[in-house]
Symmetry: C2
Subunit: 437 residues, 2 copies
């Protein structure tokens, strides 16, 4: 316990050294990142949280499990930023070096923290497993550190001053890092920032990035709020950002700009911030007390998966059919055998029959269908990879839309995602037009 | 055309300056990354491709759309590495600065490349749209650059020597970057590397990282081949890596180590390299000419989506049912009403009835089912968020397994992914045991 007090005391004292935190850098540690074994999602998550607190992030750096390079990267980052957050390298194996390198960079000893030993023992008790000797590597921290509790794993983090910058080490496991960040670091950073960066993201579909940018070029050139475009997967977003002391002040600056953007681009707008095309569809269905059924071929469950990524879909999602074979399309959805033979599975009549069948069998108000060639194989001269039909059935009847992504030679994943986006957007427009209600 | 020749000539000449490429750094440009708006997947992809070519990658850096910082990052990277690859900042908007900064860093002029202008015009013709004035920003490159063709988009890349290092700029759109990398840069790097880094990744499930590491600690401590562990989503992988001049030499070094690992950990092994639990299941089903049906509740189509992520699933995937409501479970899968009332939707009997029903209706040899509470809401005292039942039905009967992830307080996504992993692994073991064949 004595160590803990020393640690907490030391860190509290040193933390006072720097009054406000204005800039941060994020250091990812792990050879698996440099080898491309793993995509680093932690850095984006941490960046978004810090940006929301008004902390400017100027650099992300990734280095491997190498003492010299980790120490060098820690020194460079602390020389530039007020706050340096590391993820990774806190595990029990011999190539987990982050806390040891933090000790080297600060010229401190690695000492055992009794609270950490108790935590490791407690975690293993909780899951009924025996700690191995290597697990106790996780009870050593640079002397004077304040520890960051980890309710979900054995790896606690360290909080320590280095060259007047605050360094915080987190494990690489996202669920563990996120909980630790929210419970320990976020409150500490909040106390040491002035105002906050507030931003609103407006989402659009059915228009290209440069065409969209031209319509709002004057706003893109403005400095407060800033407006920045970003495109991908058939969607474009505009992020409106400003710094403000209060939410009211932020709304006063962002609101009018957002209104102006929607006045010019409202036809293409589908959502704000974390809203997706499927969540927009979900909200519209909820408002209308309407239900949806899905019939998927080439997307193979992707629409259903996306519709249920968010909780609460049970309010409007009846059921989904993944009919990957013609036989399934006939038996489960009642697609006529002759239609499949005459037009082929990837055709407008089959897309319509799938949607109509799913709606009839489920009793849902609306049904969406997707049938296409996602590739990489299975394409022909007149039905190339990237040819997709999306169908929509409601009380007014059934329609289908042809979607040709072949010219872009896209990946199977991109073709499936874009097909899903188009299908959801087809229903979104129908719901907005009040059709089938 | 003259520019093109000059450019090609210059770059060819300068390229000769540096004989071999041994080290690389990747520079990502984009404020959206620093704000956490976007997860950078390009860097991992490029890193994996370079590692396979035997190029050592020592650092990933991300900076925003800021002239000074991009120029500084370019100079730092080129002072350390033989090859510097940038992604992002090649778009038509005013905050796309990468090529301009490359010119600043090399003290060169930005000049128009006729081949680039022709390309921009051609791309717009191809998609029947009119270029806007801002699109022609994409025809300017640092003088002396060799251009990297982009068959999928308007943004061509630049290839240029800087301080004896080779710099290559790519757009941030993954599909465009990947095609350009494979067609232009990869062959060039291949010519300038000696031997290659060859690695094999072995995947395990049902054992923790530290327990697994203890069983192969002697191999983890060895230096050639190196063996490195990596854990996540209920799976652990061991990556065996060596440098070799020929595939035969690599196999001679990696083969025996991999065999030794499998001799010790074979019970937990499910695949190699890009194999997933679902692809392992798919291969086993194919070998046995067997078919599979899916009945999903809380995973809402995730199993079907994952099973069809790879092409060719139609050979063994019959159909999938996403029965999100009790009514759907009764009507589509024949789950008895009283079972749902007595045991509740999240229960062993319902998981069994779903699997048995899906198998009967589809006529498939095997059926998997998942029903659980993915959260964040809907948990109760005796049925907490994270409680999941997975069912398996085959010719020998129907079983269900209880999976309790509640202690870990995981995210909805993690609970869904782990439930899918467990369900696929249940079938994998059944197939290996020759059950239900």
């Amino acid at each position: 316990m004595q160590k803990e007090n020393t640690g907490a005391g030391a860190s509290a004292g040193e933390a006072a050294k720097k009054e406000t935190i204005e800039s941060a850098e994020i250091l990812t540690v792990g050879t698996e990142m440099l080898l491309g074994d793993l995509v680093d999602t932690n850095t984006a998550w941490i960046s978004a949280r810090l940006a929301a607190l008004g902390v400017g992030i100027y650099r992300h750096v990734t280095v491997g499990d190498n003492r010299e390079r980790i120490v060098a990267a820690l020194r460079e980052a602390t020389s530039r930023a007020d706050l340096v957050i590391t993820t990774g390298g806190l595990g029990p194996t011999s190539d987990d070096l982050t806390n040891e390198c933090l000790a080297l960079a600060t010229g401190r000893e690695m000492v055992e923290y009794p609270e950490a030993r108790e935590h490791v023992d407690e975690m293993f008790r909780r899951f009924g497993r025996k700690p191995t000797s290597s697990n106790y590597k996780q009870v050593l921290f640079p002397e004077g550190s304040r520890l960051i509790p980890n309710p979900l794993g054995t790896a606690m983090g360290a909080l320590l001053e280095l060259d007047g910058a605050l360094v915080a080490t987190f494990p690489g496991v996202p669920t563990e890092m996120k909980g630790m960040f929210e419970e320990t670091l976020e409150p500490l950073v909040k106390e040491r920032t002035e105002g906050a960066i507030v931003s609103r993201t407006l989402w659009f579909t059915g228009i290209g990035e440069s065409a969209l940018a031209e319509k709002v070029q004057d706003l893109l050139d403005a400095s407060d709020p800033t407006v920045a475009p970003l495109a991908g997967q058939g969607r474009v977003r505009l992020r409106v950002t400003t710094r403000a002391a209060t939410p009211e002040e932020a709304e006063g600056k962002i609101g009018p700009v957002a209104d102006e953007i929607l006045a010019r681009l409202g036809d293409y707008y589908f959502g704000t911030d974390s809203e997706t095309i499927e969540s927009a569809v979900g909200d519209l269905l909820k408002q209308r007390n309407a239900t949806l059924a899905l019939a998927e071929s080439c997307t193979g469950g992707l629409l259903a998966k996306r519709l249920t990524d968010a909780a609460g879909a049970s309010a409007y999602f009846r059921e989904g059919f993944v009919t990957y074979s013609n036989e399934s399309k006939e038996r489960l959805l009642g697609v006529p055998h002759e239609t499949l033979v005459e037009s082929g599975a990837v055709s407008e009549p089959v897309a319509k029959a799938m949607a109509a069948g799913a709606r009839k069998i489920s009793g849902a108000d609306y049904a969406l269908s997707v049938t296409g060639i996602a590739g990489p194989d299975g394409g022909t001269e007149e039905k190339p990879v990237g040819l997709v039909y999306v169908g929509l059935s409601d009380a007014n009847g059934t329609v289908a839309e042809r979607l040709d992504l072949s010219a872009w030679r896209r990946s199977r994943e991109a073709i499936r995602e874009r097909s899903a986006n188009r299908a959801f957007d087809l229903l979104r427009h129908r719901l907005l037009d009040g059709g089938g209600a």
